[in-house]
C-alpha cells in the first residue's frame, strides 16, 4: 500500500507466536514512523469473573489464561492468595514448586527455541520443514520438551493445566520412588541442553541492541524462578534497585496512549523489558557453574563479570542456557528430595490483599487478589509479561524495520522480506498474546 511517500505495512496474523496478534508499520520518507503490535486476541475477562470466586480457585482458573505457561499462573496465584492470608510456603514444598516450574521452563523454552524461533534463523516456515535439514536438532528439541513435560506431568498430573497445585502446596506430594526415574531422564536432558546451547549459539545473529531497563525477580541465593523481589537494572548501567512485590503496580503502570487503544506498561515512567534477557542481565551471575560455562562458550560473555546480553536476537541463546540451568536445578532437587510431612500447609482465608510474582518463561507475571472475610475474591489484577513488554517489542520492531529500510535504500524492501523481519523482531520476545488479552487493542485503524 503506497500513499505518496508513505507506506503502510500490515501483517494481519503473526505466526509462530502464542495467541493472536498482528503488526502495523508506517514508513514515511525512508523513516519508520510507527510500529505497532496489534493484539486482537478475543477478550476473556478473567479479572471480572474472578470476583466472587473462592480464594482456592484462582490457581485452576487463571491457569486457563495460558496453555503454554499454566504453572506460572498457578504459582503466581497461589503466592498472591497465600500472601493475603498471611501464609508462607517454604522448605520442601517451596522446592517442589521450583521443581514443577523448572519443568515448565524446560518445555516452554524448548518449544520456543526449536519449534518457533529456530526456523527464523535457518530460513524455514516451521519445525517440520526444519526437520528435513536439521532432523537431529529438532528431535533433540522435542526430547528436551518431553523431559520438561514429564516433570510437569509427574508433579502436576498433566503438562497443560496441571491438577495437583493448590494453595499451600500440592494435593499429593510425590514419593522418592516416583521421582527417581526422572533423574535418569534429566541426566540425558542435560546433555541435550548442552548441545542445544552449542547449536543455537552458532546461528547468524543480526546486530541489534535494546536499551530498556531490565526487570526481573531476584533473590540472593539462586537464579530466581518461582519467587523473588522485583529488581531493576537500568539501561546504560548504574546500580540495580528493587521494590517489594506489594508495590508492583505503583512502579509498573499501565497507561493508555492517545493514538492506540492498547494499554502499555511503563516502569517508573520508562520503557522496560522482562523475560529471558532481563533475567540474565539481573541474575546471570547466580547461574550454576555449568550454565555459566555454557553462556561463555555460547558467546554471551561472563555474567560473573557483569556481562549482559542486549541483543534480542540472541535471546535464543539465553533461553538455551536457562534450559540447561533448569535441568540442573531439577536434578539437584530430585536428588535431594525427601517427601514433606504433609503435601500442603493450611491456608485459612482472611480478609486482605495479597501479591504474588513469579518468572514465567516469557517474563515476570504479577497477580493481586483482595479477599473478603469469607475468602471470596472481591478484586483481581493480573499483569502478564507480554503486556509489560509491548512497548519494548514495538521499539524493537521499529528499529528492525528501520535497519531493513536503510539496507534496501534507496528502494524499499519487499513486503515479504519486511514482514519476515518484523515477525522475527516480535518472536525474539516469545510473546504470549493469550496472556495479554486484558490489554487488548481491538479497533482497527483505517487508512
Amino acid at each position: 500500500m503506497t500513499h505518496g511517500s508513505t507506506r503502510v505495512l500490515r501483517i494481519s496474523s503473526l505466526t509462530r507466536v502464542e495467541g493472536e496478534g498482528g503488526l502495523h508499520l508506517r514508513v514515511h520518507d525512508g523513516s519508520v514512523t510507527e510500529a505497532r503490535l496489534r493484539i486482537y486476541e478475543a477478550p476473556r475477562f478473567f479479572e471480572a469473573f474472578l470476583r466472587g470466586r473462592h480464594c482456592t480457585e484462582p490457581p485452576d482458573i487463571t491457569a486457563r489464561v495460558c496453555g503454554i505457561c499454566p504453572v506460572a499462573y498457578q504459582l503466581s496465584a497461589c503466592q498472591a492468595v497465600e500472601d493475603a492470608c498471611g501464609v508462607t510456603v517454604d522448605g520442601t514444598l517451596a522446592e517442589l514448586r521450583r521443581l514443577l516450574y523448572c519443568g515448565e521452563w524446560i518445555e516452554s523454552h524448548a518449544l520456543h527455541i526449536h519449534l518457533l524461533h529456530a526456523p527464523d534463523f535457518l530460513g524455514c516456515a516451521d519445525a517440520v520443514e526444519l526437520a528435513r535439514s536439521h532432523r537431529v536438532a529438532v528431535e533433540r528439541g522435542l526430547r528436551l520438551k518431553q523431559a520438561g513435560n514429564a516433570l510437569v506431568e509427574l508433579l502436576g498430573g498433566r503438562s497443560i493445566h496441571p491438577v495437583n497445585v493448590r494453595l499451600g502446596g500440592f494435593h499429593r506430594a510425590p514419593t522418592r520412588a516416583e521421582l527417581r526415574p526422572l533423574a535418569e531422564r534429566l541426566r540425558r536432558a542435560l546433555d541435550d541442553a548442552w548441545e542445544t546451547v552449542r547449536w543455537v549459539s552458532g546461528f547468524d545473529f543480526p546486530d541489534a541492541e535494546c536499551d530498556e531497563d531490565l526487570l526481573a525477580l531476584a533473590r540472593p541465593d539462586r537464579y530466581a524462578i518461582e519467587a523473588g523481589t522485583p529488581t531493576v537494572v537500568p539501561a546504560g548501567g548504574g546500580p540495580a534497585r528493587s521494590f517489594p512485590v506489594a508495590d508492583f503496580t505503583e512502579h509498573v503502570v499501565e497507561r493508555q496512549v492517545p493514538h492506540s487503544t492498547a494499554l502499555r506498561s511503563e516502569l517508573d515512567g520508562r520503557r522496560h523489558l522482562t523475560g529471558a534477557l532481563a533475567r540474565y542481565g539481573v541474575n546471570g551471575r547466580l547461574l550454576s557453574p555449568l550454565a555459566l560455562q555454557a553462556a561463555r562458550e555460547g558467546g554471551l560473555g561472563d555474567p560473573a563479570e557483569g556481562a549482559a546480553c542486549r541483543n534480542p536476537f540472541r535471546s535464543v541463546v539465553v533461553r538455551a542456557v536457562e534450559v540447561l540451568y533448569a535441568v540442573e536445578e531439577a536434578l539437584r532437587i530430585v536428588d535431594g528430595y525427601q517427601p514433606p510431612p504433609r503435601p500442603h500447609v493450611e491456608v485459612p482465608p482472611r480478609a486482605g490483599t495479597g501479591h504474588g510474582a513469579t518468572e514465567a518463561p516469557r517474563g515476570l507475571l504479577y497477580h493481586r487478589y483482595t479477599l473478603d472475610a469469607a475468602g471470596l475474591v472481591t478484586d483481581a489484577r493480573l499483569v502478564p509479561p507480554t503486556a509489560q513488554n509491548q512497548a519494548a517489542i514495538e521499539e524493537h520492531l521499529r528499529r528492525t524495520a528501520q535497519t531493513r529500510v536503510d539496507a534496501a535504500h534507496p528502494r524499499l524492501p519487499g513486503e515479504a522480506e519486511l514482514t519476515a523481519w518484523c515477525e522475527r523482531a516480535v518472536r525474539n520476545h516469545d510473546p504470549c498474546i493469550s496472556c495479554s488479552a486484558h490489554f487488548l487493542e481491538l479497533t482497527v485503524e483505517r487508512h
Partner: protein, 294 residues
C-alpha cells in the same frame, strides 16, 4: 481401501488445518506435545494451516480442521463459517470450542459490566454478549471434550478421521477410568466432593489419583445425573454457592452443567428432600425458596 494401482501413485496427503478462536492455546499445544508422533504425523498429513506452529499458510479446502476456542466476537463468527466452508470435516477441540470455555461465565452475567471492570476504555472492546461453542453456529462433525484435551484422544480423533472411521472416544464418566486405575473412591472413602460421576472420561481420572475430587474439566458425560450428585456434594460439606461455582468453570455453559447451576442459583435445592409428586408437577419450581417442600 486402496488398490494396488492406487498404491503405485502416492495419493496426496490429507490436509490438516488448526484454527484458534477465544482460548488459551493449550489444546492446539497438545498437538505439539505429541513429541513422539509429531514428525511422523507430518509425514502422513500436510499441516496446511497452523499459525501457532508455522508461517506457511496453504489455502483450503482441508480434509480435517481442528478448531480451538469459542465464538466471542463478530470476527470469530465469520471465521467459523469460513472454516466450515473450507473443511471436509470439522472437529472442535477442548472445552472452549465445545462448550464456550471459562469465558462463557459472561453468559451468566452482564458483559458490559465485565468489560468495564477490566478495561479503562470499554467502548474499544468489540465483543459479543456471549461465549458460545462452535456447534452453536455451524455443523460440527465431532467434539473432543477436555480442558485441556487429552493427547492420546487427540491422536485417536485425527487417526480415525484420516482412516474414515468413528473415533473411539468413550462418553462414559470419569468413575469408569477411576475404577480401572484402581483408585480408592475419594467420595466414598474420604467424603471429598467429586464431579467424577457426571464428568466425561478422557483424563484418566487424574484428580482422584492425586487425592483430589474431580472438578469437571472434561465437561458432562453422556446422561449425567446431576440431580443425584448435587445432594452428595451438599452432604459432603459444599454450600449451594460452592456447588454453583464448581459447576461454573470451564464447561459452565454445557447444557447439563448450566441447567444444574441455574436451577441451584434460582433456588431449587436439589439437596432438599425430594417432594412426592404432586398434582402441580414433579418438584419445586425455580422460584420457590431454598429447601421449600410441599
Amino acid at each position: 481401501m486402496s488398490t494396488v494401482s492406487e498404491a503405485l501413485v502416492p495419493p496426496a496427503r490429507p490436509r490438516l488445518a488448526v484454527w484458534k478462536l477465544a482460548s488459551c492455546d493449550g489444546c492446539q499445544l497438545t498437538l505439539l506435545d505429541c513429541e513422539d508422533e509429531l514428525l511422523a504425523l507430518a509425514d502422513r498429513v500436510e499441516i496446511a494451516h497452523f499459525f501457532e506452529a508455522s508461517s506457511a499458510d496453504a489455502p483450503g479446502p482441508y480434509d480435517l480442521s481442528l478448531v480451538e476456542g469459542s465464538v466471542t466476537t463478530p470476527d470469530a463468527l465469520a471465521l467459523v463459517r469460513h472454516i466450515r466452508a473450507v473443511s471436509r470435516r470439522l472437529v472442535t477441540i477442548g472445552a472452549c470450542a465445545t462448550a464456550g470455555g471459562i469465558q462463557a461465565l459472561r453468559n451468566f452475567a452482564d458483559v458490559a459490566e465485565f468489560r468495564a471492570a477490566v478495561y479503562a476504555r470499554p467502548d474499544y472492546i468489540d465483543t459479543l454478549a456471549t461465549s458460545t461453542p462452535v456447534s452453536a453456529h455451524v455443523p460440527v462433525d465431532f467434539e473432543l471434550q477436555g480442558c485441556p484435551i487429552d493427547r492420546v484422544q487427540l491422536l485417536e480423533v485425527i487417526t480415525a478421521h484420516l482412516a474414515g472411521r468413528t473415533p473411539g472416544i468413550p462418553d462414559h464418566s470419569v468413575c469408569f477410568e477411576c475404577k480401572r486405575r484402581g483408585n480408592v473412591c475419594v467420595t466414598v472413602a474420604h467424603g471429598t466432593p467429586c464431579l467424577g460421576p457426571v464428568t466425561h472420561a478422557g483424563c484418566g481420572a487424574l484428580c482422584p489419583s492425586y487425592h483430589r475430587g474431580c472438578y469437571g474439566c472434561f465437561g458432562p458425560s453422556d446422561s449425567p445425573n446431576l440431580r443425584a450428585l448435587v445432594p452428595l456434594l451438599r452432604r459432603d460439606g459444599m454450600d449451594r454457592e460452592a456447588v454453583v461455582r464448581l459447576l461454573r468453570t470451564f464447561n459452565a455453559y454445557s447444557p447439563a452443567f448450566a441447567r444444574a447451576s441455574t436451577a441451584l442459583e434460582e433456588g431449587e435445592d436439589a439437596s432438599a428432600p425430594q417432594p412426592a409428586p404432586t398434582a402441580r408437577g414433579d418438584g419445586p419450581g425455580p422460584d420457590e425458596p431454598e429447601g421449600a417442600g410441599p
